[in-house]
């Protein structure tokens, strides 16, 4: 993105044009971009996996509820819902992708005690 004061630059971009991170599906689409998918392909992939429309992907009203139903991490503080690594493990399964820190957690859990 680039530099600039937080409210003038980063937040201005977030409000003007960003998908909205874990408020919506920005984190999920971003993960598909890390797999070299361009934006339309990445959005279509995530929409198909979630069973929602392309417009729903960046609709915080729709996604706030759906993310809680899927238990893949939500933006507000809700006790008992999946957090951090727990949420990412569920996202890896939902999107059928490999997430490095989830793989590492599996290795750590499966490693024999010395």
């Amino acid at each position: 993105m680039g530099t600039g004061d937080p409210s003038g630059m980063g937040l201005a971009h977030a409000l003007a044009s960003s998908m909205g991170g874990i408020k919506t599906t920005g984190d999920l689409v971003a993960r598909m971009q890390l797999n070299k998918m361009r934006l339309p392909e990445a959005k279509r992939y995530v929409a198909d996996k979630l069973g929602v429309s392309l417009l729903d992907l960046s609709d915080s009203t729709v996604m706030r509820t759906l993310r809680e139903d899927l238990d893949i991490g939500v933006v507000t503080a809700v006790p008992g819902l999946a957090k951090g690594l727990e949420a990412k493990a569920r996202i890896a399964e939902l999107l059928d992708i490999r997430i490095n820190c989830v793989e590492r957690m599996k290795e750590k859990i499966g490693a024999p005690l010395r």
């Binding site: 993105m1 680039g2 937080p6 003038g8 044009s17 960003s18 920005g26 890390l34 990445a42 820190c101």
Partner: protein, 356 residues
């Protein structure tokens, strides 16, 4: 005779200026033509010019993309805008990096975030690699969004007095061309090794990606070191690499360096893309510099013309740089949201960027 109504807009240094609609349209057309002439790329189409005219003549303080057209944010400079000083337009908030990353995820709803050393260059960061890796490691436990580790290759720090190699900026004015080239060739090897080494440190702590930022800030040797490092990391690991540039054209401090048979000096964004893709990068961030003597309308039109030429041929996601002084954003320490939001939307709606 009635007065011609004017629109309040800004220059490339963010100073307010009043222009007529005709003047704005002329600037938009001329900005696009300026990019086309430099990069030998197509000018904007009439409907694209119309979009920019509507955007810049609107009195609205904030502009945005159409619903459903939103794109992905990747953030270079880590949390420096929160934690660092004015050198990064930072506000030095009393927060550590972990807290700041979590703020970016929840309060600011960023799509991705990154961890990076406050200096942000690979040379000082490598000495603190274990601390850097530990920050990333801890954050991977508590965050949901993709986390990069980011840094600048910044080849300039490898030259005297900061580094061990003779400084080409000293040698070139003395006419010592061969010596300056030899110094760059040696320095880029050291830089490449450091970039690869630090990248590998972040694999152990399960980074989601690595971000090489402000690439080619020291010219073609800097770019070559980065491309070679990207090729090595991309071909030997599953770590995705983002390459974000420093400027719109690769400066030829060396002048003869090549990657995959292509001379690096003088490459424009759409030409840089081809090499970045060959090197195996997952995301490319082209830069278009802001001209402070021209209006923001001129600068945004010029920037999106360059970026449109990149996205037209890209196979990987394109995240143009739209921070202070690039991508049509004014060059000033505290950037005005009215122009940032316009540059932001134009990059996606006209430039067809996959993210920013």
């Amino acid at each position: 005779m009635p007065a011609v109504s004017t629109i309040i807009t800004r220059m490339g240094d963010a100073a307010t200026v009043e222009m007529t609609a005709d003047e704005l349209r002329r600037d938009i057309v001329e900005g696009s033509e300026a990019a086309a002439a430099k990069g030998k790329v197509p000018v904007l189409e009439e409907r694209e010019v119309e979009y920019l005219v509507e955007m810049f003549t609107s009195p609205s303080r904030i502009w945005g993309v159409e619903r459903g057209h939103e794109a992905i944010l990747t953030k270079d400079g880590s949390t420096n805008t929160i934690c660092s000083s004015r050198l990064s337009s930072g506000v030095c908030a009393p927060l550590n990096r972990e807290a700041a990353v979590r703020l970016f995820e929840t309060a600011f709803a960023f799509d991705t975030m990154e961890v990076g050393h406050t200096d942000y260059s690979v040379k000082p960061a490598k000495f603190l690699a274990s601390l850097e890796a530990q920050h990333l490691d801890l954050l991977q436990h508590v965050t949901v969004l993709p986390l990069f580790y980011g840094f600048m290759p910044n080849l300039g720090l490898y030259y005297r007095p900061d580094g061990p190699y003779p400084n080409p900026s000293d040698l070139l004015p003395m006419g010592k061309i061969d010596e300056a080239r030899a110094a760059q060739e040696e320095a880029l090897e050291a830089c490449r090794e450091d970039v690869v080494w630090l990248s590998r440190q972040m694999i152990d702590v399960a980074a989601d990606g690595i971000n090489y930022d402000t690439v080619a800030s020291t010219g073609d040797a800097d770019f070559l070191a980065t491309l070679q490092a990207c090729e090595e990391i991309s071909s030997t690991t599953d770590l995705p690499v983002e390459i974000g540039m420093a400027a719109e054209m690769v400066l030829g401090f060396h002048g003869e360096l090549e990657y995959d048979g292509v001379r690096l000096a003088g490459l424009w964004p759409h030409q840089q893309l081809e090499l970045v893709e060959k090197a195996g990068a997952a995301i490319f961030g082209p830069v278009v510099n802001t001209n402070t003597r021209k209006s923001c309308a001129w600068n945004v039109a010029r920037a999106v013309t360059f970026v449109k030429a990149v996205t037209a041929k890209a196979k990987i996601p394109i995240h143009p740089n739209v921070g202070m002084g690039v991508g049509g954003v004014p060059t000033c320490e505290v950037v005005p949201a009215d122009m940032v939001s316009r540059a932001s939307a134009a990059m996606i709606e006209i430039g067809k960027a996959d993210g920013l």
